[in-house]
Symmetry: C2
Subunit: 427 residues, 2 copies
């Protein structure tokens, strides 16, 4: 008896899924143990040519996901609604679900996992983070006997491409972004990428899996994008032996009682394995107590890579159905809370436009000292009206660093805080 | 009811497994769904202190693996016998088996998989290749809906450390190896590592999983070690923008009808992601049709990382037992044969000590031409009695390249073939 798959959505990823299921029919059948067939495809409009058998198309998505002959539902519509309602309906009807929907998982993963648990079916979502890179399954399964302390990810290809171009070609932000748009790496409205929303959703999913804490949502993630990154920041990073990367950072606190989840640009030493991730590639660096330092690298987006991840999940849930089993998740909840960004220990790189006159450094240094932040190094660039003080702090709680910068903005000797960026070596 | 584990062997990895099962008891229980307990440990001698509860120790390994209360057998003895007989006995007795034994899997994996299939139990072996790096499970599961075309691995930490030191510190082979031995990266008898036996076993396992072809064994792997790599080779590689790495290479032939599996030193361009894998780290680069280029990076050896991989497998098979299921493998066999090294397409870097006189290059070039091998570039180094011709060929079947070199050895104008190494950019 064939395993029947209902597909929700037939865009870039969906049509690739159809193509691969067709092309690899024989291999899929061998690996699952029974043939895999597309039983129907829910779309919004029937009048567009999608290169798939028109007889499979329907606009009745609810009817499709509850059809008795359907075993597995693959959701590639994206967005919150109607995806959520359809997936919950499918799970309640006893169908296993495969999804690539990071936004929904980040916002309401808990509800979906609970529904899957209650129905005794699978909910797989490898494609939701870092495209084709097998990452969620290793975190969930292979490291199940280990304790993850930190996850660092380059999980947004658009912003990595833009930052890489700013570094390698000396482009400005706007120019690099336009280039990314021309190449199809960035959308016409790049907000979700450049403001870090996409990375924040993935950070929430990673934190949940890595620390087995179910209630982390995108809203818990401290988020800063890359629109403020200037050519001067890139040059300053390079002068310190660093590159600028937009990182998703999920970290257990020192006392192990809470986790921090954040997305922001970081000046990262060039010898960190993540520093050499170029162009639109993604990579996720995992630090586990026993396994040590691991990195997963690959294409983070694109129809075909994402479809590959969807197919991997499809094979797994189909096998599980044949064996009449499912892999539960979320039953084990450490309940670790997310701490405030202010409590996160980091260090700042601060560039200050100052008046060049005696006593300026003393005043600035005094402000740092008053907030309990010590200075690691300081250099002056330019002179006269163009004088700039560039300071790198030692590690301190983000709240103390932030207050220091706020106070500096009011200092008479500081004409402008030209740039603030975190510097981390993750040692 | 607790899940009972029998441990075979209590050396570096085994004692770490005991420690982790003890330390992480609570988390393991939560993730498996029931407590996990060590039910017994088979050792050769009882009179050594291993820091474990002596009541658990026994010298009757066969008795232990057939004990009715044992659910899972973890084998960390290594080597072929008695490991094979014990694992087969355990599988036949209906126990699931977790092993780190690359040598045995490479030699006789087919028999073990068949026994697991017949008994309807699991055989997991993540720790056998690349230590803690979650690699086999992603290859088996996450890429189950994809088609792997090539796997390139730095799967032996010792040789990577030695080559890295030769490159970064300018050490000679012997000096670098002694340093590796001092640091514990190389054993007193380094043969298995430096001659490529260890990497060849892992290559066989990787090829089997990547191409779903069950009968590949270590004996099918073309193997060359790094004992012949000289400081001059390293310098020559660097002059071409390359580094020397010992790679395990598993590749589908162009017609897709066979696979090549080989281990040898390669001059690899510095911008290949594997080129920046330093010290004793391991990394495996996978090229799949849909997923594109993926890389997995981490610690490839050591008691704790290996124990982490064993625990990950232990959690998986314990969960499967609770759910009364198992993940079959090897039922789907593409049966792809392994082709001879002579058919493998590669290119050679050849350094020839020659007499410096007119016509030498013409004679050498003629020899290449007669074997159907074209020359990509050639340069002369030194002069007079120290003259050396360094040639890089275009791609050609290895057999043609090998014959060319054999013929050169007989050429009057060639005093000595100083070095031969493959150069590949894997594009």
């Amino acid at each position: 008896m064939a395993m029947k798959v209902a597909l929700l959505g037939c865009g870039v990823v969906g049509s690739e899924v159809v193509r691969l299921v067709d092309e690899q029919a024989e291999e899929l059948a061998a690996r699952v143990g029974t043939p895999v067939e597309i039983g129907g495809i829910a779309v919004r409009r029937l009048d567009r040519d999608r290169g798939v058998d028109p007889a499979l198309l329907t606009t009745d998505a609810t009817g499709l996901v509850t059809r008795p002959d359907i075993d597995v539902v693959v959701e590639v519509i994206g967005g919150i609604e109607p995806a959520r309602t359809l997936m919950l309906t499918a799970l309640k009807a006893g169908k296993s679900v495969v999804t690539a929907n990071k936004a929904l998982l980040a916002e309401d993963g808990q509800t979906l996992h609970a529904a899957a648990r209650e129905a005794g079916v699978d909910l797989y979502y490898e494609a939701s983070v870092a495209g084709a890179i097998p990452l969620l399954r290793p975190l969930r399964d292979s490291l199940a006997g280990d304790r993850v302390n930190r996850v660092l990810g380059i999980v947004n290809g658009t912003t990595n491409y833009v930052l890489d171009r700013m570094d390698s070609a000396g482009s400005g932000f706007t120019e690099a972004l336009e280039e990314a748009q021309t190449l199809g790496y960035a959308e016409a409205d790049p907000t979700a990428d450049v403001e870090g929303f996409d990375a924040a959703a993935k950070a929430a999913i990673l934190a949940r899996l890595a620390f087995h804490t179910q209630q982390v949502t995108a809203a818990d993630v401290h988020r800063e994008g890359i629109t403020g990154v200037s050519a001067a920041d890139i040059a300053s990073a390079r002068a310190m032996g660093c590159v600028v990367k937009l990182l998703a950072i999920c970290q257990r606190s020192e006392d192990g009682e809470s986790v921090g989840v954040r997305v922001h640009p970081v000046m990262l030493p060039v010898d960190h394995p993540l520093a050499s991730v170029k162009e639109a590639y993604n990579a996720v660096f995992v630090e586990a107590e026993s396994a040590g330092r691991l990195m997963f690298y690959g294409a983070g987006a694109g129809g075909t890579p994402t479809a590959s991840a969807v197919l991997g999940d499809m094979v797994a849930v189909a096998r599980n159905r044949l064996a009449d089993t499912h892999v539960g998740e979320g039953g084990h909840d450490t309940g670790l809370p997310v701490h405030d960004m202010g409590e996160t220990v980091t260090s700042y790189h601060v560039a200050l436009d100052v008046a060049e006159r005696p006593g300026v450094l003393a005043t600035v240094a005094q402000t740092f000292a008053e907030h309990g932040v010590s200075i690691k190094n300081v250099r002056q660039e330019g002179s006269g009206d163009d004088a700039q003080l560039v300071l790198v702090s030692h590690q301190a709680p983000d709240a103390a660093l932030r207050s220091t910068v706020e106070r500096l903005q009011e200092d008479d000797v500081v004409r402008e805080v030209a740039s603030v960026m975190r510097v981390e070596n993750f040692e």
